[in-house]
Symmetry: C3
Subunit: 256 residues, 3 copies
């Protein structure tokens, strides 16, 4: 990651671009956000990885997202779909179903969002999940097989599947849910890991992204006095954690 500094394109909601870009920079990636019609598709084609986050999809962003997905598809750029708060909100729900047809490399969401994208579930409460990750396991498997995507369900323990293998990552910290963009920035980090995955599978890259992110959160939480200091420590930890430290602290379980 630090050697390759992958150009990571994010089209994301208006609450989190700053935190998202800072998380990518801390990791050593090169963030860029090009979310206007006429440029988003061109940029998707040259980026190393891309995030599409549906948190605040203005009409301009909706056009840019369609362009960007087409550009990434045409040029083989790996990309991540984060279907924020779909289910009860109609515009983003329809858009999520539409762009999922383009077969994202990875899909990341909370349990309610994954259930909604799979056509099941009760609908979330904005960005909160009303469902547990385990309850979304069948939906995650189904989505993974339908779109050929790696599907990651965030929760106290993350559940990640490529449609056959199911991996659980137990790293992370509750304080990450007290900083806005904790989940959204993870989507961009996944895109950056996909960009530099080389010979590894997409599943391995998505799992590694979750583990590094979660380990950094644990480091930060051990020093934080609340969510404000946690956010600063977390960016420091993303910059300072070594591959060996992350590997040693990762809590990953695989079942198939």
């Amino acid at each position: 990651m630090r050697r390759e500094s992958p150009l990571t394109h994010s089209i994301t909601n208006n609450v989190v671009p700053n935190f998202t870009a800072n998380a990518l920079l801390a990791l050593g990636a090169a963030p860029a956000m090009v979310d206007i019609v006429g440029e988003a598709g061109l940029f998707a084609a040259v980026a190393g990885g891309m995030l599409i986050n549906l948190g605040t999809p203005t009409p301009e962003q909706r056009g840019a997202i369609r362009e960007a997905v087409a550009g990434a598809t045409a040029s083989g750029t790996p990309w991540v779909l984060d279907p924020v708060a779909i289910g009860s909100l109609p515009i983003r729900t329809e858009l999520a179903h539409e762009v999922a047809q383009a077969r994202p490399t990875a899909i990341r969401g909370n349990a309610s969002e994954i259930l909604a994208l799979a056509g099941a579930g009760s609908g979330g409460r904005g960005v909160d999940s009303a469902d547990s990750p385990d309850s979304a396991a069948p939906a995650a498997l189904s989505l993974a097989r339908r779109f050929g995507s790696v599907v990651a369900v965030s929760g106290p323990e993350d559940l990640i599947t490529d449609g056959s293998v199911v991996v659980r990552v137990a790293n992370g910290h509750e304080l990450l849910t007290r900083v806005t963009g904790g989940g959204c920035a993870l989507g961009a980090v996944i895109a950056a890991f996909l960009a530099v995955r080389g010979e590894r599978s997409a599943l391995e890259a998505v799992v590694a992204a979750h583990a590094v992110y979660g380990v950094a959160a644990e480091h930060a939480a051990s020093r934080a006095e609340g969510p404000g200091s946690f956010a600063a420590h977390f960016l420091d930890a993303l910059a300072n954690v070594t591959p060996d430290e992350a590997a040693a602290a990762a809590r990953i379980e695989t079942a198939s």
Copy 2:
């Protein structure tokens, strides 16, 4: 607040959504920002409280704001109007007068903004106030009576009125004015307090929001070395302050 975790909907300007969401999360509320036409009204109807902040009102946001105000009104969601920098800037000024007709539960602004909304005053200088809170007291009383709103005028000492009682809150710190969104995030915090007010009056909820916010600022300022470290300490303090500490440190004076 921490037990109920009220879903707090903010349509706000593009400078402060991150800080606003983090302030709400620190307090224990659940922030969401849904500012597009076709979703904003639906979301306003299910939210526990809502903020309408006119800081950077794009055409899309203006449509979303009208929808959201209608949705909140129809479903009884309490909401806060923050008429940022009205007076000399025509589009937001007209919009503020229009949505005020829907009778916001609370109106928060600096003295210049409150004077402008009441149809008086000299006009502010962007987000700065050219007037003192006391000079806006008659305008605040008049607005409160006209729209049935609690009106809060921010300043070194905040002035809050429901049209009959006038309350002054002397908590806070000058460093809060050196962090962008210090006032804007308070609007969202007021919305969260209104969402969980139960049997208390709207006036009490607005006063409590100001006091907790101001006490947290004082805690943070005692440890900060400047505005950057203050912002982190402030979020920590919002998360850590107990109701007893806030009550003990609150400096509230009531006159009628």
Copy 3:
């Protein structure tokens, strides 16, 4: 700066407005961001200084930028153009060439952006520069003469010219490149320094902005443990650095 508190108007990309406003507030300036059609031009006319940053130019912002440049020109407000990531992205490239005709007081960019604006160069990689500041020196001189602007090329050592004198500022720190908006906020800081330059030349004001900004970065880096804590320390340092400290630590070389 702290005495005059110049009203500094920024139309900037959606990733950095928060950090930009906080940098201005830390310095003692009064930030405002009015980026909608119908208000941007009016505000440009009353502001003390203005930044136009092309990082995420939505259609609404493009209209607002044209208005704002016309307003600033008509009223003599000094303004800064930051042609973010021009070269390969067509919409912003065309817009940059268009607004440059209005003769910005200053132009700030990395080497790739300055080369692209001068009609030369290989094109950047998003916000990264593929070229060194020295390689852009002829382009900077040419732009400065063509538009009567002070042109600043950011890099490990900044190169600043008014078309005859070339100044190099060696302050700064690598961590500033690990915080998103490190360059974008500098554009706003330049606008604030131009607003209060009094009898000094625009070149002196732009150089002073770079030196103060770079010295603050050095102070912050000496205490930071990574990019997250650096950002907080940097805002503290902008607020706390004295003119004497900045003058003593500035590393400025002038050639003509």
